[in-house]
């Protein structure tokens, strides 16, 4: 079971194997959660969105066929559900980036550092997260898909519904802004 790909695990779950789902969930839950968290910023809404995305996957299991990578399909579900949620609640998507900094502070820190290092690391984290938060929605999204899902440009283009050149251009702008922001802060 451990050697199975994501697609094979999903097919196994479609056929009634609950353990296959547990493996898929443990593998992708962090990435999907952070992808939504960075896009939305509100932990309460993110929990609701996160649960909805996985419930959609559970309900769609019988129709699942291997047409693309499982991760592409999963993040496409998350992307579409995020857009639907904000349309349904008449909230501008741009508002999502205006979440409070204290939301970021609630994110637990890694425990592998000394106290001084932890303070410095916490500061760097806040700067990076602030910079990511400042990115336009489209650029932030392609960056998150790259970092959280490990997607290539083609997959990012597929999830976001744009062509590869557009995805590449957005990612280039995002990386340039983050790089300049971090360098100027050091």
């Amino acid at each position: 079971m451990a050697d199975l790909t994501d697609e094979e695990l999903m097919l196994a779950y479609r056929d009634g194997d609950a353990h296959a789902f547990e493996q898929l969930y443990s593998k992708h839950k962090g990435g999907v959660y952070r992808y939504l968290l960075r896009k939305c910023g509100n932990a309460a809404i993110v929990e609701e969105l996160f649960q909805d995305v996985w419930m959609k996957l559970i309900n769609a299991r019988e129709r699942y066929e291997v047409k693309a990578k499982f991760s592409t399909w999963l993040y496409q579900l998350a992307h579409n559900h995020f857009i639907d949620y904000y349309r349904k609640h008449s909230i501008s998507a741009s508002m999502s980036q205006n979440f409070q900094d204290d939301e970021l502070e609630n994110i637990p820190a890694s425990s592998n550092h000394q106290p001084e290092q932890q303070v410095e690391f916490q500061q760097q984290t806040e700067i990076l997260m602030h910079l990511i938060n400042e990115l336009p929605d489209e650029q932030r999204e392609v960056f998150l898909l790259r970092e959280e899902a490990g997607m290539g440009l083609a997959e990012i283009a597929e999830v976001t519904g744009v062509n590869i050149e557009t995805a590449k251009s957005r990612l280039r702008y995002a990386v340039n802004r983050l790089r300049k922001g971090l360098m100027s802060d050091e």
Binding site: Y13, D15, G16, D17, A18, F21, E22, Y25, K29, G30, Y33, R34, L37, E47, F50, Q51, W54, M55, I58, N59, R61, E62, I107, P108, A109, S110, F121, Q124, T125, L128, M129, R146, E147, L153, K168, L171, R172, V175, N176, L178, R179, L182
Partner: protein, 285 residues
């Protein structure tokens, strides 16, 4: 220059070990809460259990298409069987009737009232082309036979006798079969009484013509001629009987009149034969 630098930065970033990526991965790793994990996994297990309980031989994806295909195949085979059986029945009826009733006779026998119905029956039994072909072949062969006729040798005469016996039997069968078909037509409107009488008369005339002509062509012996003439006479076909007598005399001109008087019906006026025959044979020859 700036674009080139940006592209280089992107390429470095896409390699996966850039400064930004390292810092992003080292930062706090947010995870969903444990109770959220538990709720989602429980929902997934419940759905999987439902899938297991629902699944069975009749819930498989192939079940409905396979059932539909089976129904279609069985329906077609049943319909084909029924059609095939009816088809054979019609065919056997056709063969039986074909041996008894020429379609042209059937039409004339049914008269004007039953003409439409007989036409329907005729269409069902045989095609018009087949009737015409049969009529043509029959009419064209007879004159040839008559021309080729000469006094038969003893062996030939014996053969002819067999043929004649068969011919008489056919005549009997045809006559009885035709009457049966006229009086008891299956699924057809019953003809009127006058139509039956008229058809009987026409049929007799046609049969007598056929028998007389056939007998002449086949070279009947006198006894067989007498049997045919007597039969025609007692069937009420006076005209046919006289015509048969004339043909007999054509074959056997020297046959003694006394013998004829003894053998043929008393009512048959032999002295008037010549005058009557002259009138009736004009039309036939």
């Amino acid at each position: 220059m700036s674009d080139q630098k940006d592209n280089q930065a992107l390429e470095e970033y896409l390699k996966g070990n850039s400064f930004i990526s390292r810092r992003y991965r080292k930062e706090a790793m947010a995870e969903p809460s444990p109770h959220l994990d538990a709720a989602i996994i429980a929902a997934a297990k419940k759905a999987a259990e439902n899938k297991k309980t629902v699944s069975g031989p009749f819930t498989a994806r192939w079940y409905i298409p396979l059932s539909l295909a089976a129904v279609v195949v069985i329906s077609f085979s049943v319909v084909f069987k029924i059609y095939d059986r009816d088809g054979q029945q019609i065919f056997s009826d056709q063969a039986e009737l074909k041996s008894k009733i020429p379609a042209a006779e059937l039409d004339s026998a049914m008269g004007q009232d039953a003409g439409e119905a007989s036409g329907m029956m005729r269409d069902k039994i045989r095609s018009k082309e087949a009737i015409e072909a049969e009529t043509q072949s029959g009419s064209s062969s007879l004159p040839a036979m008559r021309e080729d006729y000469s006094a038969p040798a003893p062996e030939q005469q014996k053969k002819n006798q067999n043929i004649e016996e068969i011919g008489v039997d056919i005549y009997k069968d045809e006559l009885s079969g035709s009457r049966q078909a006229i009086q008891e037509p299956a699924a057809m409107p019953a003809p009127t009484e006058s139509a039956v009488e008229l058809s009987d008369e026409k049929l007799r005339k046609q049969k007598s013509d056929t028998a007389v002509v056939t007998g002449a062509a086949a070279g009947l012996v006198p006894e067989q001629w007498f049997e045919i003439i007597n039969r025609l006479w007692f069937d009420g076909d006076e005209e046919g009987a006289y015509r048969g007598l004339k043909n007999f005399l054509a074959d056997y001109p020297d046959y003694p009149l006394d013998e004829l008087k003894k053998t043929l019906p008393q009512d048959l006026d032999l002295s008037a034969i010549t005058g009557k025959l002259d009138k009736t044979t004009e039309g036939t020859e």
